[in-house]
Each structure stands twice: as structure tokens, then as C-alpha cells.
């Protein structure tokens, strides 16, 4: 069954329409469309991501959540056929303006990936790598320690910092990747399904960690798991996929609001169906 979103026309979404002044936005998208080659992947996304809050992106497979999150640190640049229309504003600067250096963007907006992907280096070097290439000259030992502490990993690895990071367990690897992102002292941390390959115990640890990160960072998290969104996120955006004229699927933003509102009082029919588990 194909569903037409009720609010397809009203496609400007701000989670804070009631108290606009209380929240300031770090990231904003304006009429964002993404294409891979000729194929539309994501259509007309308008979102405002509030500072020092956790925003979750949920929705069925192929709805463009991962594509969207990768737009925020220009990681999609690595895909040859990627093309973007519209704007992605970071503190009111368009990230896709001509003069913007993607490398500098990524130093402000860190990323944690679906599959834990530590470098094949020692635990210490995994953290120090980003700092070194960014010309960090202060005490590296201290940076490694504080980053690992922030990622709640320090106690487990403090005696084996020189060991290869690939010898860690899956959950430890993912927390190491979070520590690696934190070490750059970014403003925003993007997480693309960070717990999808972890067991429940590790997932809980990572979720606790995400809660703590909120104090210092703006966090965006893509998740397949609606319980996870309701547990960790302050705001939740629901995306859905639809078939275009040429038969390819593209994603669009259906509803974006405070997490409680999305889960307790969804406005759109599709959101209601998705969160109650009737599709997706």
C-alpha cells in the first residue's frame, strides 16, 4: 500500500515552532535534493538541527536517512555520481558553496559509522591520528586519555593503549570510533546506525555515551531501531520512501518534531503506521 503524506505541501519543518528563540540551529537544510546519477534519492528536505540536542533520523530502508546524514559532513563527495541541489547550512554557511573545503568541514562535523571501523593501528594511534593530521600540538597523551574517558572506554583499555585496535570487541571498537570523533573536538557528531552491529549490552553503553555527549556536542543519529530513537533522541525526524515516476525509490521527510510528539501524537498517517510497527 502506497501512502501519500498529508503534509507533502507543507514541507518546511522546524521542531521548535512554538519556542523558536530557545533553540538555535547548528545545521539547516533548505530544499535539499540528492541525486545519484539521474536517480533522485532524497527530495526537498527542510530541517533545522538544534544545538546540543540529539536528533534521530528514523524510517524504512531506502528512505535516504544515511544519504542525508552524509550530506552534513560532505562524505557523499566520495561517491562519484553524487549530486546535490539546495542548501546545507552550517552556522549559516552553505557547506556546498564553491569555496568550502570539505576537509575543513569534516574537522568540525565528525562521523561515526555503522560498522565499527578503527584504523589498523594501535588504540593510541587511532585517537592521535586525527589530531596529528590536524596539526594538534598539545599533549597527545592527555587528548587520548580524555577522549577515551569521554567515550567510556578508558578503564577497559588504559593498560593496552599500544595494542592493535582490531583486537578489541565490537562494542569497544565502536566506542573507540566515538572517541576518535570526539578527539577532534567537533561541534557536531553524526552517527550512522552506530549500534546496528552491536549486542544489547554494548548498545546500552553506546546509548549512555550518546546521552553524555549531548552536554558538549550536537548529535545526529540514524537508526533503524525506533526504541533507540525514543530512548536517546530529543527530536526525531521520520523519513519515508516513495516510488517516483521512473520507478526508482526516493526518500522524503514526513514529520519532524520532539521525540515525545512523534511517538505519542504523530501527525502524519505514515508516521503513525511506522512507529506502531505496521510497516517498515
Amino acid at each position: 500500500m502506497k501512502h501519500q503524506p498529508d503534509n507533502n505541501q507543507n514541507n518546511h519543518h522546524s521542531p521548535s515552532q512554538s519556542n523558536q528563540s530557545a533553540l538555535d540551529e547548528v545545521l539547516t537544510t533548505e530544499q535539499l535534493c540528492v541525486y545519484y546519477g539521474d536517480q533522485l534519492a532524497l527530495k526537498n528536505v527542510n530541517m533545522e538541527i538544534p544545538r546540543n540536542e540529539i536528533t534521530a533520523l528514523i524510517g524504512p530502508s531506502g528512505c535516504g536517512k544515511s544519504t542525508l546524514i552524509r550530506c552534513f559532513n560532505r562524505l557523499n563527495d566520495l561517491i562519484d555520481s553524487f549530486r546535490l541541489e539546495g542548501k546545507v547550512l552550517y552556522r549559516n554557511k552553505n557547506l556546498y558553496a564553491n569555496k568550502v573545503d570539505a576537509v575543513k568541514v569534516r574537522r568540525q562535523i565528525g562521523m561515526v559509522f555503522q560498522k565499527p571501523n578503527p584504523f589498523p593501528k594501535s588504540i593510541y594511534d587511532n585517537i592521535a591520528y586525527g589530531a596529528k593530521i590536524n596539526g594538534y600540538t598539545d599533549d597527545l597523551d592527555e587528548l587520548v586519555e580524555t577522549s577515551l574517558k569521554q567515550a567510556a572506554l578508558w578503564e577497559e583499555v588504559k593498560d593496552k593503549l599500544k595494542e592493535n585496535a582490531l583486537s578489541l570487541s565490537g562494542g569497544q571498537k565502536q566506542r573507540l570510533c566515538i572517541a576518535r570523533a570526539v578527539a577532534l573536538k567537533p561541534e557536531v557528531i553524526l552517527m550512522d546506525e552506530p549500534c546496528s552491529s552491536l549486542d544489547p549490552v554494548s548498545t546500552e553503553k553506546v546509548e549512555d555515551l550518546i546521552h553524555h555527549l549531548k552536554e558538549n556536542y550536537t548529535v545526529m543519529i540514524v537508526t533503524h531501531n525506533m526504541q533507540q530513537a525514543s530512548r536517546v533522541a530529543d527530536f526525531t525526524a521520520f523519513f519515508n520512501a516513495e516510488e517516483g515516476d521512473s520507478g526508482n525509490r526516493f526518500g522524503y521527510l514526513v514529520e519532524y518534531d520532539r521525540t515525545e510528539a512523534i511517538f505519542n501524537n504523530p501527525q502524519a498517517d505514515a508516521t503513525q503506521k511506522y512507529i506502531s510497527g505496521r510497516f517498515g
Binding site: 566520495l78 562521523m111 559509522f113 571501523n117 589498523p120 586525527g130 592493535n164
Partner: protein
Amino acid sequence: MSESITTNQQDQPKQLDLEYSGFEARTIQDRGLTILAFTLLGLAILPLVLVVSYVIIKGFSRFNLNLLTEIPPTAMQQGGGISSAIVGTILLVIIAGIISIPFGIGAAIYLAEFSPKIVAKWIRFATNVLSGVPSIIVGIFAYSVIVLTMDQFSAFAAGTALAILMLPIVIRTTDEALQLVPQEVRWASVGVGASNFQTVLKVVLPAALPAILTGTTLALARAAGETAPLIFTVLFSQYFPNGIFDESVPSLSVLIYNFATVPYQNQQELAWAASLILVLIVLIASVLSRFIARQQTY
């Protein structure tokens, strides 16, 4: 209806037979094929065993310290060793390595990391063609391009010929090693603000290094055993080579070729001993490269 089936089964439980029987068609076929596979495996390994044991039996009588310290004898001389040929082979292989390894690894980095797909496809194809070119043709090529141009045989010309033979092996193994490094690791590196150059140099290359070393070692071993290119590019002598533009550089492979085909027993024995040394070099290089590859990161 389903009720009647269940009651039927309960009424007459079938005799349960789980015992292994060696005479069923299935087990006989199973065993026959296993034996066949083992036999074929043995036949495939046989040449290696035969070659190595024959070389050891023939070469062992002269396998002593003199072999490694004395220079090759002339036709009627007694005794002697192959020291200068070992040094010559090492010199040629070093020249070949210095030329082919940087070029090969550089080319592979371009192929795996930066080139457009269509370009990579054609370069990979060209590399495969190059690896299929017989070594004697590479020898003639080096002869006409380097020896004739410089108007002299030289260790440099021979090293270049060997480098051409090594190049496709180095490119292919490095290319494959780089492709094995997961894409996520590149994303991670780019994600922490590394440039493409930093990503390749500090993350991707170190991750692929064991496999690259394996390929390079095997390429060097292959070059050490080549004969045909050397016949065209460098003269044989008994004496130690004197720099990279020396006209006459002895090498193990050419020494074997020369000494094995003469009627003098002393030289024939040395040819076998040299074969043993060459086989040992290749063997040790292979084992060494496997050992390095054991510490593989992915």
C-alpha cells in the same frame, strides 16, 4: 486428514537406522572421490618435491664454505665457488627492485585509489598482458633499447630488464592488497578530516603493507631466477661486479646455464650447487613473505 497421518506414524514407528555403513553407494562414492582428490594433490606436489630433492642430492656435495667464498673456476681449474655470482645476482635484483618497486607501488596506488574505473580497467588489462610477455622478449627489448643505445652491456641494462618483469607482479599484488582494505577505513580517515593523500599514505598503505611486502618479495625471487633477459644484457664473468655500469656481471642463473652445459665435472657440480642456492633463495623468500603476510591486518 492430518490427524490420520500423525496417528499412522505413531502406530508404526519406522526402524531407526543411523549406523554408518561403508558399503552404501553414497559412502563408496564419497570415499572414492576423496581418494581421487588426494591422489591428484600428490601428483601436483610431486614436481616440486622431485625438483627440490634432485637439486639437493646433486648440489649437496659442493655445499660448503668454499662455495660461498671462492669465485667460479675456469674450464680446467679445480675447486672454486660461486661467490661472485651470488653478489652479481643480488646486485641485479637490487637494481631491478629500485626501479620496479617505487614505480609499481605508485602505479598500483593510482589504480586502486584515484583512477577512473575505465582507465583502471585498461591499465589492469595492460599489466596482465605485460606479465604474459616471455622473459626472452623482455631481454631483446632491453638489449635493443639500452644495450645498443649505450653501446655496452651493463648491470643497469640487466636490472632494467628484470625490473620490467617484476613490474606487473608488483602492480598486481599491490593493487589487490589496496583493494582489500575496507572502504569504511577510508571513510573513517576522511571523516576525521584527512586529505586523500593523508588517507592513502597513513592509513591505507600501512594496512596493505604486509600483502605488498609479500608480493614484492615474490617478485624479487622471480627476478633472481630469470636467465633469458640476462643473456642479452650483461656478459658473464668469474669476477665480482664493479658498479652498476660494469659490462660483465656474473649471476647464479647464467652461471647455471653456462656451467651445466660444459663437459667439465667441476663446473657441472658447481652448477648444481648454484641451483641449490637459487632454490634456497626462492624458498626462503617465499617463506619469509608468508611470514610477513601472517601479520595481516585485514
